[in-house]
Symmetry: C2
Subunit: 280 residues, 2 copies
């Protein structure tokens, strides 16, 4: 199968490394960073590069799979520019964690049947091709989102891609995807930034001496790429605003119970411990 | 050296396990749970038990070390009941993470010279003697807090205790201790509970599928003992209330930048990444 990856960063580079282990996969890539391309050719994770997205018009790309492994706002721009492939035999997917802006483009084109969104819930606080690894998606969750008009052939092609990469695949409606991830993934990142900013403001030296291990692990979220997370936050801003409001409400509930109601505080903490243990 | 540990839970049990490796340490313990005592005698981490705190009046306990390894509010009650040992040759320390309530007792007695507070920043989401381990404090931080009136002999005895347990020891004024820990340790726990309550409220099945690994690690804080954390939150409630207010302010700042100012959002995330990398 012919596979083209746009963007050879952590995600695109890791996809290439895994897929290239199968000889019948012919992997091509496009990246503005020429050294990412030449490194990937050298370590045989890709077969070659394409010069421009227009190359995808060639007949040799018919029935191929195109993976956009770029940050959210760039993915929006690229998807727009690929309208010549809409409803073609080329299956198009992405890897971003916010889908609403992408879905708006599809809406204008009455939902082309060959576009299936993907969100691999895998990553690292390290970014770039240099940190890509060949088992990044193994055992991780990947969420597909697509419209009713999507053709089974294209859905299956994307489903097979993630299964080949070792992911556990599930499907969510596009809007529900963005609502859920605003809470389950984007909110924890917002919280890590807000918490760290709060700690920064107390201007105390050697703060790490005064924190247990769990905090350090959590703050690793802040080591992710600021550009990518500013982009994710902005593209899913409305849902994240609701999530922040809900969190603030729950912080105020706790603050109130701490000040006034130790018994009901203990009950709430017990209830949450039980919820944690059956869900995470 | 004769050492008496009040409370053979995770902390007290772990202290006994490490200290008992040295033959010249004679360790005694007091716990209302008789099986904790008999298990500890069986595995030789303690030499015997005391029947009542009044036993500490005996001359054989002169110049010994008394460690209160009980939760915050129980520690307050026990310290009050130990006034017959204030300004004696017995060194008294504790292991709690909030000191203001304890310090109020000392104030009434004009700060006895033999009481040195300890806060080992070590623990586990598992509690109880059954989970105690003999290297719990090794390489971890322990904070001492004491009044100017504390006698060097007693300070040194407590300092040596934690050094023998492998801790990195530092010293903080009692009030500053509680202010800092409200931010560095208690606030992250409040946040973990509030975040989990927010996720619980969206009533979505299989939530863990939609979250990255960092969140699961952080939510482990919620698996700690609800009784202990309700107690810590209540005993340091005023400082924690300030910390929650500061966090809410920072959440609102992020929410506002996400909605209105993507450039300044990116700058803030970059600044926080740099702060993270030089501090945690």
């Amino acid at each position: 199968m012919k596979i083209t990856i746009i963007g050879l960063g952590l995600i695109g580079g890791s996809i290439a490394k895994t897929l290239s282990r199968r000889k019948d996969n012919q992997i091509f890539a496009f990246d503005t960073n020429k050294s990412s391309i030449s490194n990937a050719i050298e370590n045989k994770s890709i077969k070659g590069s394409i010069e421009s997205l227009d190359d995808l018009k060639k007949t040799e790309y018919e029935d191929s799979l195109l993976i956009l492994a770029t940050p959210p706002s760039i993915t929006v721009d690229i998807l727009k520019s690929l309208d010549f492939l809409f409803n073609s035999s080329v299956t198009i997917t992405d890897t971003t964690s916010a889908k609403t802006s992408l879905n708006k483009i599809l809406q204008k084109f009455n939902f082309p049947e060959n576009i299936i969104f993907s969100h691999p819930v895998a990553g690292s606080h390290l970014s770039g091709a240099v940190n890509s690894i060949d088992n990044l998606f193994n055992g991780k969750s990947t969420i597909l989102s697509y419209h009713d008009s999507a053709a089974p052939l294209h859905v299956n092609r994307v489903m097979s891609l993630w299964q080949e990469l070792g992911s556990k695949v599930s499907v969510l409606d596009t809007e529900l995807h963005d609502q859920i991830f605003a809470y389950s993934s984007h909110l924890p990142h917002v919280v890590a930034y807000a918490l760290l900013n709060t700690l920064k403001e107390i201007e105390q030296d050697n703060l790490a001496l005064f924190s247990g291990g769990g905090l350090g692990e959590f703050l690793r979220l802040v080591s992710s790429s600021p550009e990518m997370w500013a982009d994710i936050f902005s593209t899913n801003g409305k849902n994240i605003a609701f999530a922040i409001n809900d969190l603030v409400k729950n912080l105020n509930i706790l603050q109130n119970k701490i000040a006034n109601d130790p018994e009901s505080l203990k009950d709430l903490l017990s209830e949450l411990k039980a919820f944690k243990e059956s869900n995470y």
